[in-house]
Amino acid sequence: MTRYLGLYFARIGFSVATALIGVFFALPLVWFIFAPFNPRAELGLSIPDPFSLTNFEAVFQNGFAMRGLWNSLVQSVGGVILVGAGATLASYALSRSPIPGKSLITYILLLFSSVVSGSAAMVPIFLIINGIGLIDTQIAVILVFAGGLLPTAMFILRDFIDSIPKSYEESAMVAGASPVQAFFDVALPVIRPGIVVVVVWAFVSIWGSFLIPFILLRSSEKMPASVAIYSFYSEAGTPIVTLLAAYSLLYSLPVVILYLFVSWKFGFRFFGGIKA
Protein backbone atom coordinates (compact mmCIF):
# COMPACT_ATOMS: atom_id res chain seq x y z
CA MET A 1 0.00 0.00 0.00
CA THR A 2 2.67 2.48 0.99
CA ARG A 3 4.53 1.49 -2.11
CA TYR A 4 1.58 2.55 -4.26
CA LEU A 5 1.26 5.77 -2.27
CA GLY A 6 4.91 6.47 -2.95
CA LEU A 7 4.41 5.89 -6.68
CA TYR A 8 1.36 8.10 -6.57
CA PHE A 9 3.23 11.03 -5.06
CA ALA A 10 6.16 10.53 -7.38
CA ARG A 11 3.72 10.75 -10.24
CA ILE A 12 2.19 13.96 -8.91
CA GLY A 13 5.62 15.45 -8.28
CA PHE A 14 6.66 14.65 -11.83
CA SER A 15 3.55 16.21 -13.29
CA VAL A 16 3.97 19.39 -11.24
CA ALA A 17 7.62 19.68 -12.26
CA THR A 18 6.86 19.25 -15.98
CA ALA A 19 3.96 21.70 -15.73
CA LEU A 20 6.30 24.31 -14.19
CA ILE A 21 8.84 23.79 -16.94
CA GLY A 22 6.04 24.08 -19.49
CA VAL A 23 4.83 27.36 -18.01
CA PHE A 24 8.38 28.68 -17.99
CA PHE A 25 8.63 28.12 -21.74
CA ALA A 26 5.07 29.20 -22.51
CA LEU A 27 5.38 32.60 -20.82
CA PRO A 28 7.37 34.33 -23.58
CA LEU A 29 4.94 32.95 -26.16
CA VAL A 30 1.96 34.26 -24.22
CA TRP A 31 3.71 37.64 -23.93
CA PHE A 32 4.41 37.49 -27.65
CA ILE A 33 0.71 37.04 -28.41
CA PHE A 34 -0.64 39.59 -25.87
CA ALA A 35 1.90 42.41 -25.93
CA PRO A 36 1.27 43.56 -29.54
CA PHE A 37 -2.32 44.37 -28.61
CA ASN A 38 -1.41 46.24 -25.45
CA PRO A 39 -0.67 49.98 -25.90
CA ARG A 40 1.10 50.00 -22.52
CA ALA A 41 3.04 46.78 -22.95
CA GLU A 42 6.21 46.30 -20.96
CA LEU A 43 8.60 43.42 -20.56
CA GLY A 44 6.33 42.00 -17.87
CA LEU A 45 3.33 39.89 -18.85
CA SER A 46 -0.05 41.57 -18.62
CA ILE A 47 -3.45 41.11 -20.19
CA PRO A 48 -4.13 43.99 -22.64
CA ASP A 49 -6.64 46.46 -21.19
CA PRO A 50 -7.99 47.90 -23.34
CA PHE A 51 -7.37 45.52 -26.25
CA SER A 52 -6.16 47.82 -29.04
CA LEU A 53 -4.46 47.96 -32.42
CA THR A 54 -2.64 51.28 -31.89
CA ASN A 55 0.75 49.49 -31.83
CA PHE A 56 0.08 48.13 -35.28
CA GLU A 57 -0.98 51.55 -36.56
CA ALA A 58 2.35 52.98 -35.49
CA VAL A 59 4.25 50.07 -37.06
CA PHE A 60 2.38 50.34 -40.35
CA GLN A 61 3.38 53.99 -40.55
CA ASN A 62 7.06 53.10 -40.28
CA GLY A 63 7.99 52.83 -43.99
CA PHE A 64 11.46 51.43 -43.29
CA ALA A 65 10.02 48.55 -41.27
CA MET A 66 7.29 47.78 -43.79
CA ARG A 67 9.76 47.77 -46.67
CA GLY A 68 11.88 45.43 -44.53
CA LEU A 69 9.12 42.82 -44.57
CA TRP A 70 8.87 43.11 -48.34
CA ASN A 71 12.65 42.85 -48.72
CA SER A 72 12.70 39.76 -46.53
CA LEU A 73 10.09 38.22 -48.79
CA VAL A 74 12.08 39.06 -51.94
CA GLN A 75 15.31 37.69 -50.52
CA SER A 76 13.70 34.55 -49.06
CA VAL A 77 11.67 33.69 -52.13
CA GLY A 78 14.63 34.39 -54.41
CA GLY A 79 16.90 32.22 -52.28
CA VAL A 80 14.31 29.46 -52.01
CA ILE A 81 13.84 29.29 -55.76
CA LEU A 82 17.58 29.00 -56.31
CA VAL A 83 18.07 26.46 -53.53
CA GLY A 84 14.98 24.44 -54.48
CA ALA A 85 15.74 24.25 -58.19
CA GLY A 86 19.50 23.87 -57.76
CA ALA A 87 19.29 21.23 -55.04
CA THR A 88 16.67 19.21 -56.93
CA LEU A 89 18.65 19.05 -60.14
CA ALA A 90 22.02 18.55 -58.46
CA SER A 91 20.90 15.87 -56.05
CA TYR A 92 18.98 14.06 -58.76
CA ALA A 93 22.10 13.98 -60.88
CA LEU A 94 24.23 12.90 -57.92
CA SER A 95 21.79 10.16 -56.99
CA ARG A 96 21.25 8.72 -60.47
CA SER A 97 24.57 9.11 -62.21
CA PRO A 98 27.41 6.64 -61.75
CA ILE A 99 29.99 9.34 -60.88
CA PRO A 100 32.63 7.70 -58.69
CA GLY A 101 33.14 9.36 -55.32
CA LYS A 102 29.85 11.21 -55.42
CA SER A 103 29.33 10.80 -51.69
CA LEU A 104 32.67 12.49 -51.17
CA ILE A 105 31.54 15.44 -53.28
CA THR A 106 28.46 15.90 -51.14
CA TYR A 107 30.41 15.68 -47.91
CA ILE A 108 33.02 18.18 -49.03
CA LEU A 109 30.32 20.61 -50.13
CA LEU A 110 28.59 20.12 -46.81
CA LEU A 111 31.79 20.94 -44.98
CA PHE A 112 32.30 24.12 -47.01
CA SER A 113 28.73 25.21 -46.57
CA SER A 114 29.06 25.32 -42.80
CA VAL A 115 32.05 27.57 -43.37
CA VAL A 116 30.23 29.81 -45.85
CA SER A 117 27.23 30.45 -43.67
CA GLY A 118 29.40 30.84 -40.56
CA SER A 119 30.63 34.24 -39.46
CA ALA A 120 34.27 33.27 -40.08
CA ALA A 121 33.73 33.65 -43.82
CA MET A 122 32.10 37.05 -43.64
CA VAL A 123 35.21 38.98 -44.56
CA PRO A 124 36.06 36.91 -47.65
CA ILE A 125 32.43 36.90 -48.71
CA PHE A 126 32.32 40.66 -48.35
CA LEU A 127 35.49 40.98 -50.42
CA ILE A 128 34.20 38.66 -53.15
CA ILE A 129 30.84 40.40 -53.39
CA ASN A 130 32.60 43.76 -53.37
CA GLY A 131 34.99 42.52 -56.05
CA ILE A 132 32.20 41.55 -58.43
CA GLY A 133 30.44 44.82 -57.69
CA LEU A 134 27.33 43.38 -56.10
CA ILE A 135 27.60 45.13 -52.74
CA ASP A 136 24.31 46.63 -51.66
CA THR A 137 22.15 44.51 -53.98
CA GLN A 138 19.43 42.04 -53.09
CA ILE A 139 20.89 39.60 -55.60
CA ALA A 140 24.11 39.43 -53.56
CA VAL A 141 22.16 38.40 -50.48
CA ILE A 142 20.20 35.83 -52.47
CA LEU A 143 23.33 34.34 -54.03
CA VAL A 144 25.21 34.06 -50.75
CA PHE A 145 22.25 32.38 -49.07
CA ALA A 146 21.81 30.00 -51.98
CA GLY A 147 25.49 29.09 -51.87
CA GLY A 148 25.38 28.52 -48.14
CA LEU A 149 22.21 26.44 -48.08
CA LEU A 150 22.58 24.43 -51.28
CA PRO A 151 24.96 21.73 -50.01
CA THR A 152 22.79 20.85 -47.02
CA ALA A 153 19.70 20.91 -49.22
CA MET A 154 21.47 18.63 -51.69
CA PHE A 155 22.47 16.32 -48.89
CA ILE A 156 18.90 16.00 -47.61
CA LEU A 157 17.43 15.60 -51.08
CA ARG A 158 20.00 13.12 -52.32
CA ASP A 159 19.21 10.84 -49.43
CA PHE A 160 15.55 11.17 -50.29
CA ILE A 161 16.04 10.49 -54.00
CA ASP A 162 18.31 7.52 -53.28
CA SER A 163 15.38 5.89 -51.52
CA ILE A 164 13.19 6.16 -54.62
CA PRO A 165 13.52 3.16 -56.96
CA LYS A 166 15.21 3.89 -60.26
CA SER A 167 12.67 1.65 -61.92
CA TYR A 168 10.18 4.56 -62.02
CA GLU A 169 12.24 6.50 -64.53
CA GLU A 170 13.49 3.35 -66.20
CA SER A 171 9.96 2.19 -66.92
CA ALA A 172 9.14 5.65 -68.28
CA MET A 173 12.15 5.57 -70.60
CA VAL A 174 11.38 2.05 -71.80
CA ALA A 175 7.85 3.29 -72.50
CA GLY A 176 9.33 5.94 -74.78
CA ALA A 177 10.12 8.93 -72.58
CA SER A 178 13.33 10.92 -72.93
CA PRO A 179 15.37 11.33 -69.73
CA VAL A 180 14.01 14.88 -69.37
CA GLN A 181 10.43 13.71 -69.83
CA ALA A 182 10.97 10.89 -67.36
CA PHE A 183 12.31 13.40 -64.84
CA PHE A 184 9.39 15.81 -65.10
CA ASP A 185 6.60 13.24 -65.53
CA VAL A 186 7.69 10.64 -63.04
CA ALA A 187 10.66 11.53 -60.86
CA LEU A 188 9.78 15.11 -59.94
CA PRO A 189 6.26 14.36 -58.63
CA VAL A 190 7.64 11.53 -56.53
CA ILE A 191 10.47 13.70 -55.18
CA ARG A 192 8.15 16.61 -54.41
CA PRO A 193 7.63 15.89 -50.70
CA GLY A 194 11.40 16.04 -50.25
CA ILE A 195 11.62 19.32 -52.15
CA VAL A 196 8.89 20.78 -49.94
CA VAL A 197 10.88 19.93 -46.83
CA VAL A 198 13.96 21.60 -48.28
CA VAL A 199 12.03 24.67 -49.42
CA VAL A 200 10.45 25.24 -46.01
CA TRP A 201 13.77 24.80 -44.29
CA ALA A 202 15.53 27.20 -46.69
CA PHE A 203 12.78 29.80 -46.37
CA VAL A 204 12.90 29.78 -42.59
CA SER A 205 16.70 29.96 -42.60
CA ILE A 206 16.81 33.01 -44.87
CA TRP A 207 13.83 34.73 -43.28
CA GLY A 208 15.49 34.67 -39.89
CA SER A 209 19.04 35.60 -40.89
CA PHE A 210 20.58 38.83 -39.78
CA LEU A 211 24.32 38.85 -40.38
CA ILE A 212 24.56 38.32 -44.15
CA PRO A 213 22.13 41.08 -45.23
CA PHE A 214 23.49 43.36 -42.51
CA ILE A 215 26.98 43.08 -43.95
CA LEU A 216 26.19 43.00 -47.67
CA LEU A 217 23.58 45.75 -47.79
CA ARG A 218 24.14 49.49 -47.32
CA SER A 219 21.01 51.37 -48.18
CA SER A 220 18.18 51.24 -45.69
CA GLU A 221 15.52 50.63 -48.33
CA LYS A 222 17.03 47.20 -49.11
CA MET A 223 17.28 45.92 -45.55
CA PRO A 224 15.16 42.86 -44.62
CA ALA A 225 12.92 42.72 -41.56
CA SER A 226 15.57 41.07 -39.43
CA VAL A 227 17.64 44.25 -39.74
CA ALA A 228 14.74 46.69 -39.91
CA ILE A 229 13.59 45.52 -36.52
CA TYR A 230 16.30 47.77 -35.06
CA SER A 231 14.27 50.82 -36.08
CA PHE A 232 12.17 50.07 -33.00
CA TYR A 233 15.05 50.79 -30.70
CA SER A 234 15.52 54.27 -29.29
CA GLU A 235 18.71 56.24 -29.90
CA ALA A 236 19.96 55.02 -26.56
CA GLY A 237 19.52 51.39 -27.67
CA THR A 238 16.55 50.51 -25.51
CA PRO A 239 13.69 48.74 -27.27
CA ILE A 240 10.33 50.40 -27.75
CA VAL A 241 8.51 47.39 -26.43
CA THR A 242 5.06 48.14 -27.78
CA LEU A 243 6.14 48.59 -31.40
CA LEU A 244 8.73 45.85 -31.26
CA ALA A 245 6.07 43.41 -30.07
CA ALA A 246 3.68 44.32 -32.88
CA TYR A 247 6.40 44.14 -35.51
CA SER A 248 7.68 40.79 -34.23
CA LEU A 249 4.24 39.32 -34.57
CA LEU A 250 4.03 40.52 -38.19
CA TYR A 251 7.55 39.25 -38.82
CA SER A 252 6.70 35.75 -37.63
CA LEU A 253 3.40 35.44 -39.50
CA PRO A 254 4.77 34.36 -42.93
CA VAL A 255 6.68 31.47 -41.39
CA VAL A 256 3.64 30.30 -39.45
CA ILE A 257 1.48 30.61 -42.55
CA LEU A 258 4.02 28.68 -44.61
CA TYR A 259 4.03 25.81 -42.10
CA LEU A 260 0.25 25.70 -41.98
CA PHE A 261 -0.01 25.81 -45.76
CA VAL A 262 2.53 23.06 -46.28
CA SER A 263 1.11 20.78 -43.66
CA TRP A 264 -2.39 21.31 -45.10
CA LYS A 265 -1.27 20.72 -48.67
CA PHE A 266 1.43 18.08 -48.26
CA GLY A 267 1.15 16.88 -44.68
CA PHE A 268 4.95 16.84 -44.26
CA ARG A 269 5.06 13.33 -45.59
CA PHE A 270 8.57 12.16 -46.22
CA PHE A 271 8.33 8.98 -48.25
CA GLY A 272 6.10 8.64 -51.28
CA GLY A 273 5.75 5.64 -53.49
CA ILE A 274 4.01 2.35 -53.14
CA LYS A 275 5.17 -0.81 -51.51
CA ALA A 276 6.95 -3.13 -53.89
Binding site: E170, S171, M173, V174, A175, G176, D185, A276
Partner: protein
Protein backbone atom coordinates in the same frame (compact mmCIF):
# COMPACT_ATOMS: atom_id res chain seq x y z
CA UNK B 1 7.68 -8.19 -83.58
CA UNK B 2 11.31 -8.87 -84.16
CA UNK B 3 14.13 -11.28 -83.47
CA UNK B 4 16.92 -10.59 -80.98
CA UNK B 5 20.56 -11.46 -81.46
CA UNK B 6 23.38 -11.33 -78.90
CA UNK B 7 26.79 -11.37 -80.52
CA UNK B 8 29.56 -11.95 -78.01
CA UNK B 9 28.01 -9.70 -75.38
CA UNK B 10 29.98 -9.21 -72.16
CA UNK B 11 28.94 -6.98 -69.28
CA UNK B 12 31.31 -6.07 -66.49
CA UNK B 13 30.61 -4.06 -63.36
CA UNK B 14 34.08 -2.86 -62.51
CA UNK B 15 36.14 -6.04 -62.50
CA UNK B 16 33.13 -8.25 -61.89
CA UNK B 17 31.88 -10.09 -64.97
CA UNK B 18 28.09 -10.26 -64.72
CA UNK B 19 27.49 -11.61 -68.23
CA UNK B 20 30.25 -13.31 -70.16
CA UNK B 21 30.51 -13.69 -73.96
CA UNK B 22 26.83 -14.26 -74.59
CA UNK B 23 25.78 -15.55 -78.01
CA UNK B 24 22.04 -16.08 -78.28
CA UNK B 25 19.48 -15.86 -81.03
CA UNK B 26 15.83 -15.41 -80.22
CA UNK B 27 13.48 -15.78 -83.14
CA UNK B 28 10.58 -13.58 -84.04
CA UNK B 29 7.55 -14.68 -82.00
CA UNK B 30 9.55 -16.74 -79.55
CA UNK B 31 8.99 -16.70 -75.80
CA UNK B 32 12.44 -17.18 -74.30
CA UNK B 33 12.90 -17.70 -70.56
CA UNK B 34 16.19 -16.82 -68.91
CA UNK B 35 16.36 -19.28 -66.05
CA UNK B 36 18.95 -19.46 -63.31
CA UNK B 37 19.71 -18.88 -59.65
CA UNK B 38 19.81 -15.41 -58.14
CA UNK B 39 22.85 -13.39 -59.22
CA UNK B 40 23.61 -15.36 -62.39
CA UNK B 41 23.11 -12.35 -64.68
CA UNK B 42 19.53 -12.76 -65.93
CA UNK B 43 18.38 -9.26 -65.08
CA UNK B 44 21.56 -7.75 -66.49
CA UNK B 45 20.96 -9.61 -69.76
CA UNK B 46 17.38 -8.38 -69.92
CA UNK B 47 18.37 -4.81 -69.09
CA UNK B 48 20.84 -4.83 -71.96
CA UNK B 49 17.99 -5.69 -74.34
CA UNK B 50 16.01 -2.82 -72.83
CA UNK B 51 18.94 -0.43 -73.11
CA UNK B 52 19.09 0.17 -69.37
CA UNK B 53 22.60 -1.29 -69.28
CA UNK B 54 25.23 -0.88 -71.99
CA UNK B 55 27.30 -3.95 -72.88
CA UNK B 56 31.02 -3.70 -72.12
CA UNK B 57 31.69 -5.43 -75.43
CA UNK B 58 29.77 -7.22 -78.15
CA UNK B 59 26.84 -6.34 -80.34
CA UNK B 60 23.09 -6.54 -79.82
CA UNK B 61 20.53 -6.59 -82.62
CA UNK B 62 16.76 -6.28 -82.51
CA UNK B 63 15.46 -7.26 -85.92
CA UNK B 64 18.10 -5.92 -88.27
CA UNK B 65 18.88 -2.86 -86.17
CA UNK B 66 22.07 -2.65 -84.16
CA UNK B 67 20.73 -1.35 -80.85
CA UNK B 68 23.85 -1.85 -78.75
CA UNK B 69 24.07 1.83 -77.83
CA UNK B 70 20.51 2.93 -78.56
CA UNK B 71 18.53 4.76 -75.86
CA UNK B 72 15.65 2.67 -74.39
CA UNK B 73 13.02 5.08 -75.71
CA UNK B 74 14.08 4.37 -79.31
CA UNK B 75 13.97 0.57 -79.06
CA UNK B 76 10.24 -0.18 -79.47
CA UNK B 77 10.14 -2.40 -76.40
CA UNK B 78 7.86 -2.96 -73.42
CA UNK B 79 9.03 -4.07 -70.03
CA UNK B 80 7.33 -5.35 -66.89
CA UNK B 81 9.47 -4.66 -63.83
CA UNK B 82 9.81 -6.92 -60.84
CA UNK B 83 8.57 -4.14 -58.51
CA UNK B 84 5.98 -3.11 -61.16
CA UNK B 85 7.25 0.52 -61.08
CA UNK B 86 3.73 1.97 -61.09
CA UNK B 87 3.84 5.75 -60.78
CA UNK B 88 2.46 6.45 -57.30
CA UNK B 89 1.07 9.88 -58.18
CA UNK B 90 -1.00 8.73 -61.18
CA UNK B 91 -4.22 6.76 -61.13
CA UNK B 92 -4.45 3.49 -63.04
CA UNK B 93 -5.81 5.11 -66.19
CA UNK B 94 -2.86 7.52 -66.37
CA UNK B 95 -0.38 4.80 -65.43
CA UNK B 96 -1.55 2.48 -68.20
CA UNK B 97 -1.88 5.31 -70.72
CA UNK B 98 1.52 6.82 -69.97
CA UNK B 99 3.35 5.25 -72.96
CA UNK B 100 0.64 6.71 -75.21
CA UNK B 101 0.94 10.11 -73.56
CA UNK B 102 4.66 10.11 -74.29
CA UNK B 103 3.80 9.35 -77.92
CA UNK B 104 1.59 12.42 -78.03
CA UNK B 105 -1.77 10.64 -78.10
CA UNK B 106 -4.75 12.81 -77.08
CA UNK B 107 -6.15 12.21 -73.61
CA UNK B 108 -9.57 10.84 -74.63
CA UNK B 109 -8.01 8.46 -77.11
CA UNK B 110 -5.30 7.15 -74.85
CA UNK B 111 -7.70 6.64 -71.95
CA UNK B 112 -10.04 4.71 -74.21
CA UNK B 113 -7.18 2.45 -75.30
CA UNK B 114 -6.01 2.02 -71.69
CA UNK B 115 -9.53 1.05 -70.71
CA UNK B 116 -9.66 -1.53 -73.49
CA UNK B 117 -6.48 -3.25 -72.28
CA UNK B 118 -7.53 -2.93 -68.65
CA UNK B 119 -10.83 -4.63 -69.41
CA UNK B 120 -9.03 -7.59 -70.95
CA UNK B 121 -6.98 -7.82 -67.76
CA UNK B 122 -10.09 -7.41 -65.57
CA UNK B 123 -8.97 -4.17 -63.93
CA UNK B 124 -11.17 -1.88 -66.03
CA UNK B 125 -13.33 -0.99 -63.02
CA UNK B 126 -10.31 0.30 -61.08
CA UNK B 127 -9.17 3.01 -63.48
CA UNK B 128 -9.73 5.87 -61.00
CA UNK B 129 -7.79 4.20 -58.19
CA UNK B 130 -4.22 5.04 -57.21
CA UNK B 131 -1.64 2.21 -57.29
CA UNK B 132 -1.48 2.18 -53.49
CA UNK B 133 -5.21 1.45 -53.34
CA UNK B 134 -5.18 -1.86 -55.21
CA UNK B 135 -3.97 -5.36 -54.35
CA UNK B 136 -0.64 -6.87 -55.39
CA UNK B 137 -2.26 -9.00 -58.08
CA UNK B 138 -4.01 -5.95 -59.50
CA UNK B 139 -0.76 -3.96 -59.44
CA UNK B 140 0.87 -6.76 -61.38
CA UNK B 141 -1.87 -6.68 -64.01
CA UNK B 142 -1.66 -2.89 -64.19
CA UNK B 143 2.01 -3.06 -65.03
CA UNK B 144 1.22 -5.74 -67.60
CA UNK B 145 -1.47 -3.51 -69.09
CA UNK B 146 0.99 -0.63 -69.35
CA UNK B 147 3.35 -2.90 -71.28
CA UNK B 148 0.61 -4.08 -73.64
CA UNK B 149 -1.06 -0.75 -74.29
CA UNK B 150 1.13 0.06 -77.30
CA UNK B 151 2.56 -2.25 -79.97
CA UNK B 152 6.18 -3.26 -79.29
CA UNK B 153 8.71 -5.34 -81.13
CA UNK B 154 9.87 -7.08 -77.97
CA UNK B 155 8.26 -7.65 -74.57
CA UNK B 156 10.53 -7.99 -71.56
CA UNK B 157 9.58 -9.43 -68.20
CA UNK B 158 11.75 -9.37 -65.08
CA UNK B 159 10.35 -11.90 -62.63
CA UNK B 160 6.90 -10.36 -62.97
CA UNK B 161 5.20 -12.98 -60.82
CA UNK B 162 7.68 -13.28 -57.97
CA UNK B 163 5.82 -10.83 -55.71
CA UNK B 164 2.52 -12.69 -55.97
CA UNK B 165 1.31 -15.40 -53.64
CA UNK B 166 1.30 -18.99 -54.93
CA UNK B 167 -2.30 -19.14 -56.12
CA UNK B 168 -2.23 -15.80 -57.94
CA UNK B 169 1.07 -16.75 -59.50
CA UNK B 170 -0.42 -19.86 -61.10
CA UNK B 171 -3.35 -17.85 -62.38
CA UNK B 172 -1.12 -15.12 -63.83
CA UNK B 173 1.16 -17.73 -65.38
CA UNK B 174 -1.79 -19.31 -67.15
CA UNK B 175 -2.87 -15.91 -68.37
CA UNK B 176 0.58 -15.10 -69.76
CA UNK B 177 0.61 -18.42 -71.59
CA UNK B 178 -2.81 -17.62 -73.04
CA UNK B 179 -1.62 -14.16 -74.07
CA UNK B 180 1.41 -15.61 -75.81
CA UNK B 181 -0.83 -17.99 -77.79
CA UNK B 182 -3.14 -15.11 -78.58
CA UNK B 183 -0.76 -12.43 -79.85
CA UNK B 184 2.40 -14.45 -80.48
CA UNK B 185 4.68 -11.82 -79.02
CA UNK B 186 8.46 -11.94 -78.99
CA UNK B 187 9.16 -12.09 -75.29
CA UNK B 188 12.14 -12.48 -73.00
CA UNK B 189 11.13 -13.58 -69.56
CA UNK B 190 13.47 -13.71 -66.57
CA UNK B 191 12.71 -16.12 -63.76
CA UNK B 192 14.43 -18.24 -61.15
CA UNK B 193 11.40 -20.52 -60.97
CA UNK B 194 11.96 -23.50 -63.24
CA UNK B 195 8.24 -24.35 -63.29
CA UNK B 196 7.47 -20.90 -64.73
CA UNK B 197 10.13 -21.34 -67.39
CA UNK B 198 8.87 -24.81 -68.31
CA UNK B 199 5.27 -23.60 -68.49
CA UNK B 200 5.83 -20.48 -70.58
CA UNK B 201 8.91 -20.83 -72.72
CA UNK B 202 9.31 -21.92 -76.29
CA UNK B 203 13.01 -22.03 -75.44
CA UNK B 204 14.80 -21.85 -72.12
CA UNK B 205 18.25 -20.36 -71.64
CA UNK B 206 19.62 -21.79 -68.41
CA UNK B 207 22.23 -19.44 -66.96
CA UNK B 208 24.95 -19.99 -64.41
CA UNK B 209 27.49 -17.40 -63.29
CA UNK B 210 27.04 -15.13 -66.31
CA UNK B 211 27.05 -17.91 -68.91
CA UNK B 212 24.32 -19.73 -70.76
CA UNK B 213 24.84 -23.43 -70.05
CA UNK B 214 21.95 -24.72 -72.13
CA UNK B 215 19.62 -23.12 -74.64
CA UNK B 216 16.88 -25.45 -75.79
CA UNK B 217 13.11 -26.06 -75.73
CA UNK B 218 11.83 -26.85 -72.22
CA UNK B 219 11.26 -30.55 -72.82
CA UNK B 220 14.77 -30.91 -74.22
CA UNK B 221 16.19 -29.22 -71.12
CA UNK B 222 14.16 -31.58 -69.00
CA UNK B 223 14.94 -34.75 -70.91
CA UNK B 224 18.56 -34.10 -71.74
CA UNK B 225 20.07 -31.60 -69.32
CA UNK B 226 23.44 -30.45 -70.68
CA UNK B 227 25.18 -30.38 -67.30
CA UNK B 228 24.69 -31.49 -63.73
CA UNK B 229 23.92 -27.82 -62.96
CA UNK B 230 20.94 -27.86 -65.32
CA UNK B 231 19.87 -31.30 -64.09
CA UNK B 232 19.93 -29.99 -60.56
CA UNK B 233 18.05 -26.80 -61.43
CA UNK B 234 15.24 -28.09 -63.64
CA UNK B 235 12.61 -30.43 -62.26
CA UNK B 236 10.76 -30.42 -59.00
CA UNK B 237 12.31 -31.91 -57.01
CA UNK B 238 15.50 -31.75 -59.11
CA UNK B 239 17.34 -34.75 -60.52
CA UNK B 240 19.07 -37.08 -58.05
CA UNK B 241 22.81 -37.19 -58.66
CA UNK B 242 25.25 -39.78 -57.36
CA UNK B 243 29.01 -40.18 -57.96
CA UNK B 244 29.82 -43.66 -59.25
CA UNK B 245 32.90 -45.69 -60.20
CA UNK B 246 32.78 -46.72 -63.85
CA UNK B 247 34.64 -49.33 -65.85
CA UNK B 248 34.26 -50.94 -69.23
CA UNK B 249 34.33 -54.74 -69.26
CA UNK B 250 33.13 -57.23 -71.87
CA UNK B 251 31.98 -54.35 -74.06
CA UNK B 252 29.60 -53.01 -71.40
CA UNK B 253 29.66 -50.15 -68.92
CA UNK B 254 29.61 -51.20 -65.28
CA UNK B 255 28.72 -48.62 -62.62
CA UNK B 256 29.44 -49.17 -58.98
CA UNK B 257 28.67 -47.37 -55.76
CA UNK B 258 27.88 -48.39 -52.22
CA UNK B 259 24.45 -50.07 -51.93
CA UNK B 260 23.64 -49.37 -55.57
CA UNK B 261 23.19 -51.94 -58.29
CA UNK B 262 23.11 -50.92 -61.90
CA UNK B 263 22.73 -53.34 -64.80
CA UNK B 264 25.53 -53.12 -67.40
CA UNK B 265 24.89 -50.34 -69.93
CA UNK B 266 25.91 -50.01 -73.56
CA UNK B 267 29.13 -48.05 -74.03
CA UNK B 268 28.53 -44.87 -75.96
CA UNK B 269 31.35 -43.03 -77.69
CA UNK B 270 31.06 -40.17 -75.22
CA UNK B 271 31.38 -42.52 -72.27
CA UNK B 272 34.35 -44.24 -73.80
CA UNK B 273 36.04 -40.89 -74.30
CA UNK B 274 35.26 -39.74 -70.77
CA UNK B 275 36.66 -42.92 -69.26
CA UNK B 276 40.03 -42.45 -70.93
CA UNK B 277 41.21 -40.11 -68.21
CA UNK B 278 39.17 -41.08 -65.18
CA UNK B 279 36.96 -43.73 -63.73
CA UNK B 280 34.54 -41.37 -62.02
CA UNK B 281 31.13 -40.48 -63.47
CA UNK B 282 27.95 -38.98 -62.09
CA UNK B 283 24.74 -40.96 -62.31
CA UNK B 284 21.46 -39.06 -62.50
CA UNK B 285 17.86 -40.24 -62.13
CA UNK B 286 14.79 -38.02 -61.96
CA UNK B 287 12.55 -38.50 -58.90
CA UNK B 288 9.53 -39.31 -61.08
CA UNK B 289 11.44 -42.25 -62.60
CA UNK B 290 12.05 -43.93 -59.25
CA UNK B 291 9.67 -46.34 -57.57
CA UNK B 292 9.62 -48.43 -54.41
CA UNK B 293 11.54 -51.60 -55.30
CA UNK B 294 9.60 -54.85 -55.14
CA UNK B 295 12.56 -57.02 -56.10
CA UNK B 296 13.77 -57.92 -59.57
CA UNK B 297 14.41 -54.33 -60.75
CA UNK B 298 17.31 -53.91 -63.14
CA UNK B 299 18.68 -51.01 -61.07
CA UNK B 300 18.24 -50.20 -57.39
CA UNK B 301 19.54 -47.90 -54.70
CA UNK B 302 19.19 -48.48 -50.95
CA UNK B 303 19.28 -46.15 -47.95
CA UNK B 304 17.62 -45.18 -44.68
CA UNK B 305 14.16 -43.63 -44.91
CA UNK B 306 14.59 -39.90 -44.40
CA UNK B 307 11.18 -38.43 -45.24
CA UNK B 308 7.83 -39.56 -46.59
CA UNK B 309 5.78 -36.54 -47.67
CA UNK B 310 2.16 -36.63 -48.82
CA UNK B 311 1.47 -34.17 -51.64
CA UNK B 312 -2.06 -35.33 -52.47
CA UNK B 313 -1.83 -37.12 -55.80
CA UNK B 314 1.79 -38.06 -55.18
CA UNK B 315 4.29 -38.94 -52.47
CA UNK B 316 7.84 -37.73 -52.05
CA UNK B 317 9.91 -40.52 -50.52
CA UNK B 318 13.44 -39.49 -49.59
CA UNK B 319 16.15 -41.84 -48.49
CA UNK B 320 19.45 -40.87 -46.96
CA UNK B 321 22.68 -42.69 -47.59
CA UNK B 322 25.71 -43.17 -45.39
CA UNK B 323 27.54 -40.25 -46.96
CA UNK B 324 24.51 -38.02 -46.20
CA UNK B 325 23.57 -37.89 -49.90
CA UNK B 326 19.80 -37.97 -50.39
CA UNK B 327 17.73 -39.56 -53.10
CA UNK B 328 14.12 -38.56 -53.62
CA UNK B 329 11.44 -40.54 -55.42
CA UNK B 330 8.21 -39.03 -56.65
CA UNK B 331 5.60 -41.72 -56.52
CA UNK B 332 2.25 -41.14 -58.14
CA UNK B 333 -0.33 -42.71 -55.91
CA UNK B 334 -2.98 -41.41 -53.57
CA UNK B 335 -2.65 -44.51 -51.40
CA UNK B 336 -0.83 -44.23 -48.11
CA UNK B 337 2.39 -46.18 -48.42
CA UNK B 338 3.92 -47.80 -45.37
CA UNK B 339 7.71 -48.01 -45.42
CA UNK B 340 10.36 -49.80 -43.40
CA UNK B 341 13.37 -47.98 -41.95
CA UNK B 342 15.44 -49.18 -44.89
CA UNK B 343 14.12 -48.39 -48.35
CA UNK B 344 15.16 -49.57 -51.77
CA UNK B 345 14.20 -47.57 -54.87
CA UNK B 346 14.23 -49.08 -58.33
CA UNK B 347 14.60 -47.47 -61.76
CA UNK B 348 14.70 -48.46 -65.42
CA UNK B 349 17.93 -48.29 -67.43
CA UNK B 350 16.40 -45.97 -70.02
CA UNK B 351 16.03 -43.27 -67.34
CA UNK B 352 19.71 -43.14 -66.44
CA UNK B 353 21.60 -39.93 -67.16
CA UNK B 354 25.39 -39.89 -67.13
CA UNK B 355 27.71 -36.92 -66.64
CA UNK B 356 31.49 -36.71 -66.88
CA UNK B 357 33.65 -35.54 -63.94
CA UNK B 358 33.34 -31.92 -65.11
CA UNK B 359 29.56 -32.22 -65.05
CA UNK B 360 28.90 -32.35 -68.80
CA UNK B 361 26.25 -34.71 -70.11
CA UNK B 362 27.47 -37.93 -71.76
CA UNK B 363 24.97 -38.59 -74.55
CA UNK B 364 23.93 -42.05 -75.60
CA UNK B 365 24.91 -42.99 -79.13
CA UNK B 366 22.36 -41.59 -81.53
CA UNK B 367 21.29 -38.92 -79.08
CA UNK B 368 21.94 -35.36 -80.30
CA UNK B 369 25.00 -34.20 -78.42
Amino acid sequence: MASIRFKGITKKFGEFVAVSDLNLEMNDGEFVCLLGPSGCGKTTTLRMIAGLETPTSGQLLIGDRDVTFLHPKDRKISMVFQDYALYPHMNLADNIAYPLKVRGEAEAKRHARAREVADVLKIGHLMERMPSQISGGQQQRTSLARALVYPSEVYLFDEPLSNLDAKLRLEARGFLNHLQRDIGMTAVYVTHDQAEAMALATRVAVMDAGKVVQYAPPMEVYRRPATTFVANFVGSPPMNLLPVEAMIADGALHLEADRVSVAPLPVSRAVAAALKGSSKLTLGVRPEHLSIARGGEANAITGQLFANENMGPEKLVTLERDDAARFTARIFTDEVIALEATVTLGFASEHIHLFDPAGARLPMDGEPA
